[in-house]
Assembly symmetry: C2
Homo-oligomer: 234 residues x 2
DNA sequence: CGAGTACTTGAAAGATCTCAAATTAGGTGG
DNA sequence: CCACCTAATTTGAGATCTTTCAAGTACTCG
């Protein structure tokens, strides 16, 4: 997508000196906790979430290997949302100072990172529109499609059958629904022949119809960075 | 918040060469339209929105003078959302190439811009959590608080009484509700003594309670950019 | 003054939640 | 491998929230 020069590549590789393991169910960062680190996920799966005053949880984003998370520390110095490991995971912490170094020394890389953030932002607005305007059934469908896309990005052979890796409670916290209603919507999708379920695995039977109802767009697929200046020689 | 050196200031000022007026009700950018420009709003008010397949509209963000909008073009080269003027407005277009120039020549400014984007992103996630988890009444309250904060940022004397500048239809499109229900929620807030309404103006009567129920956070108030390196001498 | 848009209200339909209970699945110690 | 324990899923029934439809009122602009 973007070709890096050797020094650029080296700068990126150098970011990942330390690694940190997080056991499933552990909290990596608490909401409002003072912190100057962001992370990339190396393996496993995280969620970013917020808690509301009434104790309910809103999952903001599912984080898969390769994702960058927590860039907000460059503006706040504290985390606007919590990070929780849904599976045993390994993260690479990056201090915001290192981000500044990249911007100063490798502007092309900085632009590429900014573009990545924009992709995530667009995904966030897609989700926002979904929460505001889609039916419960469509929001659940959107999660299924999203997870499938993300799994496929890690492993190209992922087909239309896959393990969700989420409880119905978690799907509910992502879609703004109760676990009970998520269950009913899954059943409804199943009854309508859009999906099938068996031993914890889901199969997307009618992807086209699912996508249409969920207003699904794969933002990453439409990224265009060709306008960036070419890599410096070296 | 951040002190710019003269060359940095000059670089920013230079961005705003042209101006463009947009009449109330006019569309500045259509969704998915090819475009390589972003904008700052000089005066007036815009909304960023998406249309869903069923024709419903989700307002993603209200844009006030000083706001930057459309940074997504650095990643996509087309607009992921539409921009519409809710009032007669003046915008300053900025080409993404100019953004790249800033990153290459004024990295401190680039970091400050990135931080601003992060503030907006945090605001977006606050809104996402609101759509997912707040009651209709609280979501309407959140819009009132948001607009008041934004107006006050333009004009410090704005008190607890102000003109919304939005129809109930627009509030509905921002909160994921119907205009009819927005009306009922406003009435309810009024009956509960949280707000008052008179000749198109709203008064916040119990800000503390409104904030609590709407899970309101003023993200901009907690920004910290002091960790950035000092300005280069020049 | 007249037309159009926005606002307001009522009644009924539809969607989602809550509460409660039954069933299934997975993990652990013996 | 079994027995048990806990978490997750499933289903039903009724309550609550939000939308839809319809009609009437208020406001603004030419």
């Amino acid at each position: 997508m973007i070709t890096l020069s050797p020094p650029e590549r080296a700068a990126l590789d150098q970011l990942g000196e330390r690694e940190r393991s997080v056991r499933k169910g552990m909290t990596l960062v608490r909401e409002n906790e003072r912190s100057t680190e962001l992370f990339t996920l190396k393996s496993g799966m995280l969620i970013a979430y917020m808690l509301l005053d009434d104790g309910s949880r809103q999952i903001l984003r599912f984080i898969f290997p390769g994702d960058l998370v927590g860039m907000a520390v460059i503006a706040f110095g504290k985390a606007p949302h919590a990070l929780l490991a849904l599976a045993d995971s390994v993260v690479v912490p990056i201090d915001r100072q290192q981000v500044a170094d990249i911007v100063f020394r490798h502007p092309r890389v900085a632009l590429a990172l900014a573009a990545l953030e924009q992709v995530e932002r667009a995904t966030l607005t897609d989700r926002l529109a979904g929460l505001g305007r889609l039916s419960a059934r469509a929001r659940v469908a959107a999660v299924l499609l999203d997870i499938r896309d993300r799994l496929r990005r890690q492993d190209e052979v992922v087909g239309n059958t896959f393990t969700l890796g989420l409880t119905q409670e978690e799907i509910g916290d992502a879609t703004g629904l109760t676990a009970v209603h998520v269950n009913r919507m899954l059943r409804q999708l199943e009854d309508q022949g859009l999906i099938a379920r068996a031993n914890g695995r889901v199969t997307l039977l009618d992807e086209a119809r699912l996508k249409r109802s969920a207003n699904h767009v794969d933002r990453l697929a439409t990224v265009d960075l060709n306008w960036l200046p070419g890599p410096a020689i070296g």
